[in-house]
């Protein structure tokens, strides 16, 4: 049994793994975690010009149970830290986090008492997008990078055998 499902990828696991990676990368459902100005640009992603539906991610889910990707769009403030942490924890595996904009990545121009200097102080982040606010093209580029990573060898994607 182990060689077929072996870590180094016996025949079955590679094809199933490849299939799962293909399925996951083509339906990354983002979570509507809109905070500030970047949220308005995130809403633009579903508008006719920057159609996110071409890669299967147009279904912005409101509940973390049904979302795979948490786009933290905007500045994360002190009062929102426990909420962001809880929403991230309640997302089902496999889950990814994209820090959209300078404020989410490093606190941006608000180097003060109120803004968390980078979302990675609170939740692990996979992809950072520069810009204030980043244009929807930049966010689509980030989602493309994430899809390549999932299709490549991202440990979180693919097959995970827990017997």
């Amino acid at each position: 049994m182990s060689d077929v499902f072996g870590e180094d990828g016996g025949f079955v696991t590679t094809t199933v793994d490849g299939f799962l990676r293909w399925a996951k990368s083509n339906s990354v459902w983002p979570l509507t975690f809109g905070l500030a100005c970047c949220a308005i640009e995130m809403m633009n992603l579903t508008s006719p010009r920057y159609d996110l539906a071409q890669w299967g991610s147009e279904a912005f889910r409101a509940s973390p149970r049904q979302a795979d990707l948490m786009i933290v769009s905007g500045r994360l403030c002190n009062k929102m830290v426990p909420v962001a942490r809880q929403v991230y924890e309640q997302m089902a595996e496999p889950k990814w986090v994209v820090a959209m904009g300078a404020c989410a990545s490093t606190g941006g121009i608000f180097d003060n008492y109120a803004v968390v200097q980078g979302v990675d102080n609170v939740i692990p982040v996979d992809i950072y997008i520069p810009g204030c606010p980043p244009t929807p093209d930049a966010v689509i580029h980030a989602i493309q990078m994430l899809r390549e990573r999932i299709q490549g060898n991202d440990p979180k994607g693919g097959l995970k055998v827990n017997a």
Partner: protein, 198 residues
């Protein structure tokens, strides 16, 4: 053909406030109010003692100041002894006359709340308390409005560092003192091994 009718109405109302309302107010609250020369925006200003604020507000409301525009806080820390100041803007609608009532107070003597006359005053007064520490007597629920409820200190004071608690810690601070360390368990910390290849 610019219709300057509104500008003339505002100017006329300002003259009226300057010539009638302010002198009447100063003489009605002789020891508790003093006048100030208006600056940039020519809005008539009056200093009022915290104890007399409620009566002045009611007095103004009877004279047509039916709109409370804003309640703001300010801190003149190094330069002036009663360091805090709560600034109320009133407006006569539709006569368009405006007046600015400035209440100099310290942390101890507390102005009375206006939320029972104007329900809108409830939230900005909570903000003044949250950001400056000036309490309002008679306020329904004086709690923090902008900062988390367990936040120490009042951020908008002049002696509060811009970066807040972060300014007082050096970078390599032990994790247990770092406010957000509790949220980052070791396994999730962002020093996680990046997926190879990227």
């Amino acid at each position: 053909m610019p219709n300057t009718e509104m500008i003339d109405r505002a100017n006329a109302a300002r003259e009226k406030v300057n010539t009638e309302i302010v002198p009447a107010l100063l003489e009605a609250f002789a020891d508790k109010a003093e006048s100030i020369a208006p600056t940039g925006d020519l809005i008539p200003q009056v200093f009022v003692k915290p104890t007399a604020l409620l009566d002045v507000a009611l007095w103004l409301k009877d004279r047509g100041f039916n709109m409370l525009v804003d309640v703001a806080g300010a801190d003149y820390y190094p330069k002036r002894d009663p360091r805090f100041e709560v600034i109320y803007h009133f407006r006569q609608f539709p006569a368009l006359g405006m007046i600015r009532v400035r209440v100099r107070c310290t942390e101890k003597d507390q102005p009375h709340t206006l939320s029972h006359i104007w329900p809108m005053a409830d939230a900005p007064e909570r903000e003044v308390y949250d950001q400056f520490g000036v309490k309002f007597t008679g306020h329904p629920n004086l709690k923090r409005i902008l900062n988390p409820d367990d936040w120490e200190g009042h951020p908008l004071r002049r002696d509060y560092p811009l970066r807040g608690p972060r300014a007082l810690i050096n970078l390599d601070m032990p994790a247990e003192l770092n406010r957000f360390a509790a949220f980052v368990d070791d396994e999730h910390a962002n020093t996680e091994k990046k997926p190879d290849g990227k």
